[in-house]
């Protein structure tokens, strides 16, 4: 204290009074809190350190230079192509099935599962070999043998100009039902097969058992 350095030679009136106050008492209040701190110092320090380190770590983690997220795979209909490969069988009048070959190719991205192959009219039903579902991988095209079963000759669309297969595709991004229009050769062959199996004049007796 300044008092010690250039203090009065003789004590003044209140000199002793003030000095005589017990130091312990003055410090009493702070001491209680500081003892509390001292008592739990280790815990508190440990806690604070944990929090700071945790926060720093988290912020570092959040602001870390991240490689750009790989783009989600494309919708399956954009990567899969289906082409007509011919080999249409020649059904005779009264036959109820005929078949042909298509190839399925996956251009890029993760494998696509082919869930279902169908076609739009109610007069026909479709089965495929291999059985659906099957998978098409990038770089390894698959061929599938499609068999059509004629359910009702009377409703068969003999000369559709733009027939298509309805293929249900699924990858990790989405499931899609896509129509694949297989072009004029398919239209011609399909029309030929249907006309052969269901000659136009047998419409009357066309109901299948």
């Amino acid at each position: 204290m300044g008092v010690n350095a250039i203090g009065p030679v003789e004590p003044g009136d209140n000199t002793y009074e003030t000095r005589s106050e017990p130091a312990d008492e003055i410090a009493a209040v702070p001491v209680r809190t500081s003892t509390l701190f001292i008592r739990h110092r280790r815990t508190a320090l440990a806690l604070a350190t944990t929090v700071i380190v945790g926060a720093a770590g988290l912020s570092l983690y959040l602001t870390r230079p991240r490689p750009p997220e790989p783009p989600p795979p494309l919708y399956p209909s954009q990567t899969v192509s289906v082409a007509y490969r011919g080999e249409m069988t020649h059904p005779r009048a009264g036959d109820r099935t005929f078949s042909f070959t298509v190839s399925l190719r996956q251009d890029s991205g993760p494998p696509v599962s082919v869930r279902r192959i169908a076609q739009p009219t109610t007069a026909l039903s479709v089965t495929a070999a291999p059985d659906t579902p099957f998978t098409v991988k990038t770089g390894s095209p698959r061929t599938a043998r499609i068999t059509m079963h004629i359910r009702e000759c009377g409703k068969v669309q003999r000369n559709a100009g733009l027939p298509f297969l309805v293929v249900t595709l699924r990858n990790t991004r989405a499931m899609q039902i896509q129509s694949f229009i297989l072009g004029s050769e398919y239209a011609k062959d399909l029309s030929g097969a249907l006309t052969a199996a269901c000659p136009p004049n047998t419409d009357v007796m066309s109901k299948t058992p």
Partner: protein, 414 residues
């Protein structure tokens, strides 16, 4: 009698004069800072005014965006791209005038457009004679690439300089027929068209397939798209007991037709091609438009990652008008020209050769890149190899820009 002949003469004169003025063209040059080096101009022809301007301005802006992006990326070394746009107002005569103007401008090395097939037909020969490449984002008439006898199996490409990124009506009409007959279970159709190249062609391909599938045609009608009064036609449709109406034409007439026929009591959907796939259709048809269908070329935009980038850039560029149905195709058309220019320049030691136009036509045949609408390349007829199409339906009419929703999509792999 003098007065009466005066009336006759003035009537004829006025009709003539007014028709001519409708063909006048207005072009606005989009000046940009040339970044040094050579400037290559891409001509854009589209209806920038009139009924179809919503689609036309979307085309113009999208081509502009392609040019800007190419410049920003310095995509072709030493070449700065600019666009020059011309307004055809949907009129073949104006389109031909614009084509002649483009040919005369030595800086123009490629043209994008037009919207209408009828306009495109008037431009093809002009461009082909000058060996100036033309890429249309929207012409869908099959004869333009495959010759008049395309349907008889004899496909002959009439013009070497003509390419398109759009799918043809030969696919679009039948696809709609298949969807309506087999999946929406519509059996009787009333076919209406506007007698124009696009509308009549589309309606014919649709009708052909619909009847082949077993559907019945309850009636046909041709309309004049300039008049908005379809009252008499609406009454015919109502009394025809058709369960669907197919309209070959564009939205300025299709919207009012949809509204009027439903108000007249024919509560059946109206179906059209890409010409009605526009927010303006929903606006014009009002709440009566709900349930109507349109086929359009390409896949739904929300399924294409490349399209998202295009949309973001389009928004950033701050164009006043929406990109509409053909925005992505226009961008890809312009980009195909840019790719062809790049190829030609790189094969010629970084300079444009003297016969750049002819070389670009050749280079265009082999162009291949991943565009906004998918893979862009052209087959031996100049048609896009990427042939995808989607059936849309109007699901809500409160916000016309969000009215159309995809219900079915297909891929042509023939």
């Amino acid at each position: 009698m003098r007065q009466r002949s005066l009336i006759a003469i003035t009537a004829a004169l006025t009709a003539g004069a007014l028709t001519l003025t409708a063909c006048g063209s207005r072009d606005d040059k989009d000046k940009e800072d040339a970044g040094g080096g050579t400037t290559v101009v891409i001509g854009v022809d589209a209806p920038l005014t009139g009924d179809l301007s919503a689609l036309g301005l979307g085309i113009r802006n999208s081509v502009d965006l392609a040019a800007k992006q190419a410049n920003a990326k310095k995509y072709v070394d030493g070449i700065t791209f600019k666009i020059e746009s011309a307004d055809d107002q949907g009129q073949p005569a104006s389109g031909q005038t614009n084509a002649t103007k483009f040919v005369a401008n030595k800086d123009i090395l490629g043209a994008v457009g037009p919207l209408n097939s009828s306009v495109g037909e008037s431009m093809q020969k002009v461009f082909d004679d000058a060996k100036l490449v033309q890429v249309s984002p929207a012409n869908t008439n099959p004869a333009m690439t495959q010759g008049q006898d395309w349907n008889g199996g004899k496909k002959v490409r009439p013009y070497k300089a003509y390419f398109r990124t759009a799918t043809t009506d030969a696919i679009q009409g039948p696809f709609a027929a298949q969807y309506l007959y087999n999946e929406a279970k519509k059996k009787k159709v009333f076919v209406v068209d506007d007698k124009k190249t696009y509308g009549a062609g589309l309606a014919a391909t649709f009708k052909d397939e619909f009847t082949k599938l077993g559907g019945k045609v309850a009636g046909t009608e041709h309309v004049n798209p300039d008049t908005k009064d379809f009252g008499a036609v609406a009454t015919k449709i109502k009394n025809s007991d058709a369960d669907v109406v197919y309209y070959g034409g564009e939205y300025p007439a299709a919207g009012p037709l949809s509204k009027q026929m439903k108000k007249a009591g024919a509560k059946i959907p109206l179906v059209g091609g890409d010409g009605i796939y526009s927010a303006d259709f929903v606006k014009l048809a009002g709440k009566e438009g709900k349930g109507d269908y349109a086929t359009s070329v390409g896949q739904p935009v929300e399924e294409l990652p490349s399209a998202k980038e295009f949309i973001a850039n389009y928004k950033k560029a701050g164009y006043k008008e929406a990109y509409e149905a053909y925005g992505g195709y226009s961008y890809d058309s312009a980009w195909a020209i840019i790719e062809a220019v790049k190829k030609v320049v790189e094969d010629n030691d970084g300079k444009l050769p003297d016969d750049a136009r002819a070389k670009i036509v050749d280079a265009m045949q082999d162009v291949s890149f991943d565009g906004v609408t998918g893979k862009v390349s052209f087959d031996e007829y100049g048609d896009a190899t990427n042939k995808q199409l989607t059936v849309y339906q109007v699901k809500s009419t409160e916000d016309p820009t969000k009215g159309w929703k995809p219900v079915k999509s297909g891929t042509f792999t023939g």
